[in-house]
Subunit: 423 residues, 2 copies
C-alpha cells in the first residue's frame, strides 16, 4: 500500500481528542461473531485495575501475527512465535497481561509465558501451541505468577461476547494510556457483511518498525492463514509502521489477526481481498492514530507527508527524520511555524541528494521554496497550528517517491511521565 | 583516533558545572601569539549584547576548516568553503556573527556573507578569499546589513590581544549558551612550547556529524595547511562528532583551525604531529564537553561507552541510538536506573546482530548480563546517578569495536526553551 493510499484510508475525523486524562467512551463495538473475551484485575497494575485478559475463539481459527524486530525480545514474543509456527497458523486463544513486560527475564520468563498459555489451553481444551501470549509493562521484572494465575482463572471465568466484555479487554491491555483504543469496520462482500474489530494500547516506546505496541484484531470473515498474513502485513505497514510517539522500539511488539469465519462469508478473489485489506488498514490506521493522539504527554498529532522523493524509501526516511527531531516536535507543541527546523532536518535525512527544489508547507501554507522562506504571516500560521492536528508537507521535486508518518509532539508532560516513571 | 583514545583525552574534571544560568569565569586564556580579536554589539541579539566578532592573524596563515554535512548549507558555509579553496588554505581573518544564521536566505544571503568578508578584507588589506565567515542564530531571516556593517567596523576598531579581547570574542559567538566556552592547552615540543586555544558555542541543534556548531581554534605552532587539516579532522572526529544535545544537525556548522607559527616552533616528525594532534583533541573534547554540559535545558552529561562490538562503526551506532532515545534521556534526568530502556535501544541499533552476551553498567554498577538484570540496589544506584555526569557502559562481547559519545539529558527546560523560542 502506498503512502497516498494510507492517507486515503485515514479515519474521517481524527481531530476529536479529549484534553482531560479521562477515558472517553469509544464507539460502540464488540468482538465479531465467533469470539469471546474476559478480563480480570490480577494486581499487576494498581489494585483493582484490569490487567489480565483472554481472547478465545469458538474453535481453533486461522491467524497471522507480527512481532517486534528489536533483537531484545520479550519471553511472550519468543513463545508466541514458537506456538504460531508449531500450530501452523491455527490459534484458539490469546492471553495478555499489562503491568509487566516479561522482558529480559531469562529462562524463568520463558517458563512463565508458557505456563500462561498452558493454563488457558487446559481451560479451553486445546493444544498449548494454539495459545499465544502477549505482555506489556515494565522490563526486567519477574512475573508475579501467583497473581497472574489467579488473574487468568478469573478472566477465563468471565468470558463473554458483549460490548462490556470487549470494553474490559481493551481496558486491561492499557498501560500509560489515557483512554482505551478500539476501532471497527463492517464491509459488505458478495457473500454478505463481515466485521473487523481491533483494540490496541499506547502510549510510550512507540516507533514505526513492524508491529509497534500490542494490537488484537479479529474478524468473522473466512480467510486462510496465508491471506491473513498478507493482509496484516500490508495493513501494519500502512498504519502502525507509520506511527511514532518517541522513536524508541519496544521489546514486546505484537499484532495478531484472527479470523473465525463465523459470518460464513468467504473472502475470495482479488477484489474481495483488496476490499478486506483496505478495511483492515482503515481499522489499523484508526488505532495507530489513537496511539499517536494519546502519545505520552502529547497535545497534538503531526501528519508528515513527503512527496517528490527519488523513492518511497527515501521519502519515508525524510518523514522519520522530521518526526524524530526534538526541535521540530517542541516547535509543534509551541505552535511555532519554525520551518527552518523542518527544512534542516530534510537536509540530513538519509538518501537525500538535492534539496534545491525543496518546498515546505505547514497547515497548507507554503512557507519555503527556492531556498528561501515565503512571506507568510507567522502569527496567522501560528494560530492555525493551534489545532490538535498539524499537517507538515515536504515536496522534494526529485521524483515520485512518497512517504507518510504521524507523530506526537514533545511536551513537558512527556518529560514528566518518563522522568518520574520509576523502574 | 579510537574511542578509547578519545576518552583518555577527556578533561580531568568535567563534573563542575553551574546550576545557575550565570556565566562562570572560564580558565584564563587568550589567543596564541600572532592573533588579535575584536567584538561588538551590533543589535542582532538583544540590545547591548556582543554579537559580531573578528579574529585576525598578523599575516595570512595556514588554516583548515570543516563544515556541516547537512545538505541545507547556510550562505557563510558556502562562502567560506569557496574562499578556503580559492585562497589555497591561507587565511588572514574570520568574521562571525550570532543572532542570525544567514541560512535559507538565497542569493541575498550569499551577497551579504561576501560583503562581510569584503569589509574585513578592506580593513586588514588582504584578498577577500583570505577571509572566512561564520554565522549562527535564527534560520531564514535576512541579515540586517546596516547593523552588521556597523558591528564589523566596531569589532575591527576594537582589535586587541588581551584576555579580555579573547573573552569578548567567545561571548559574542554565544546564542542560547548559559556560559561562554573556552579551552586551552600548552605543549612542549623539541623546539619549545606551543599553545592551542579555542572557543565554541552551544547549545541546541547539536548532533555529531562532522564539525557540529561553531568552533574557532588557533595555535602559534608552525604547520602547513595539510597537516592542520589532518589534525583537525582527527580532533573533531574524537570530540565534536561524539557530542550530542538533541540530535538535530545544523545548517551552519563550522570549525576552523589557524596556525600563526609565531612561536617559531615547527611541528615536524610523526611524534610531534601526534603530540600536537593529541593536545588539539584535548582542547576540542573539553569544548565539546562544555557544549553537552550546557546543552539546552541539560542538567547532566551522559557518557556512553560501548565496547565489544563487531566494529567501531557499529559501536558508535549503538552509542548514538542510546543517546537519541528520549526514554533514556528522560530516565537519566529522573535519576532512574532504567537499564531496560538502554538495553532495548541496543536491540534496535543498526548493525547489531547478537545481544546474548550483552552487559550493561550504569555508574560502574553492573545492572544487566545473561539476558536478565542483576540484583543491584536500585535506590543506591539512583542516588549515584544524582551526579552531573552519568556513565553508561555497554559491552557486546562480540568483537573489539569501541564507541564513545557524550550527550545531554532531556528535561522540562529543553521543552520550554524550544517550544517558546519563536521564529
Amino acid at each position: 500500500m502506498t503512502a497516498a493510499k494510507a492517507r486515503k484510508n485515514k479515519p474521517a475525523s481524527p481531530n476529536t481528542r479529549p484534553t482531560q486524562p479521562a477515558l472517553p467512551v469509544p464507539p460502540v463495538a464488540a468482538w465479531p461473531a465467533g469470539f469471546a473475551s474476559g478480563a480480570a484485575a490480577a494486581g499487576l497494575k494498581a489494585p483493582g485495575r484490569l490487567d489480565v485478559a483472554v481472547l478465545v475463539a469458538d474453535q481453533a481459527v486461522p491467524a497471522a501475527a507480527m512481532f517486534t524486530t528489536n533483537l531484545v525480545q520479550a519471553a511472550p514474543v519468543l513463545v508466541s512465535k514458537e506456538h504460531l509456527k508449531k500450530g501452523r497458523g491455527l490459534v484458539r486463544a490469546v492471553v495478555v497481561n499489562a503491568g509487566n513486560a516479561n522482558a529480559c527475564t531469562g529462562q524463568q520468563g520463558l517458563r512463565d509465558a508458557r505456563e500462561m498459555c498452558q493454563q488457558v489451553a487446559r481451560f479451553v481444551r486445546c493444544p498449548i501451541e494454539q495459545v499465544l501470549v502477549a505482555s506489556t509493562g515494565v522490563i526486567g521484572r519477574k512475573m508475579a505468577m501467583p497473581k497472574v494465575r489467579k488473574g487468568i482463572a478469573a478472566a477465563l471465568k468471565s468470558l463473554g461476547t458483549t460490548q462490556d466484555h470487549f470494553a474490559a479487554f481493551s481496558q486491561a491491555i492499557c498501560t500509560t494510556d489515557r483512554w482505551r483504543k478500539v476501532a471497527s469496520s463492517t464491509l459488505t462482500l458478495a457473500g454478505g457483511p463481515v466485521q473487523i474489530t481491533g483494540t490496541t494500547k499506547g502510549a510510550g516506546m512507540i516507533s514505526p518498525n513492524m508491529a509497534t505496541t500490542l494490537a488484537f484484531l479479529a474478524t468473522d470473515a473466512k480467510l486462510g492463514a496465508a491471506a491473513l498474513k498478507q493482509s496484516l502485513q500490508q495493513a501494519i505497514a500502512a498504519s502502525y509502521n507509520r506511527a511514532m510517539v518517541d522513536g524508541h522500539q519496544s521489546t514486546n511488539d505484537f499484532a495478531v489477526l484472527l479470523a473465525s469465519g463465523s459470518s460464513g462469508v468467504k473472502v475470495s478473489g482479488t477484489a474481495a481481498h483488496d476490499e478486506f485489506e483496505s478495511a483492515l488498514s482503515t481499522v489499523c490506521l484508526d488505532l495507530a492514530s489513537q496511539i499517536v493522539r494519546d502519545g505520552e504527554g502529547a497535545t497534538k498529532r503531526m501528519e508528515i507527508v513527503v512527496t517528490g522523493a527519488k523513492s518511497d524509501q527515501i521519502a519515508d526516511g525524510i518523514a522519520r527524520t522530521i518526526a524524530m527531531s526534538a526541535l521540530v516536535r517542541t516547535a509543534i507543541f509551541g505552535n511555532d511555524p519554525n520551518w527552518g527546523r523542518i527544512v534542516s532536518a530534510v537536509g540530513y535525512a538519509p538518501g537525500v541528494k538535492d534539496i534545491r527544489k525543496l518546498r515546505c508547507k505547514i497547515q497548507d501554507v507554503l512557507v519555503y521554496r527556492d531556498g528561501t522562506p515565503t512571506d507568510f504571516n507567522a502569527a496567522d500560521l501560528s494560530n492555525a497550528m493551534k489545532s490538535e492536528q498539524v499537517l507538515i508537507e515536504v515536496e522534494l521535486g526529485e521524483g515520485h517517491g512518497e512517504g507518510f508518518l504521524q507523530a506526537s509532539d514533545l511536551t513537558y508532560e512527556y518529560v514528566r511521565i518518563n522522568a518520574e516513571y520509576t523502574t
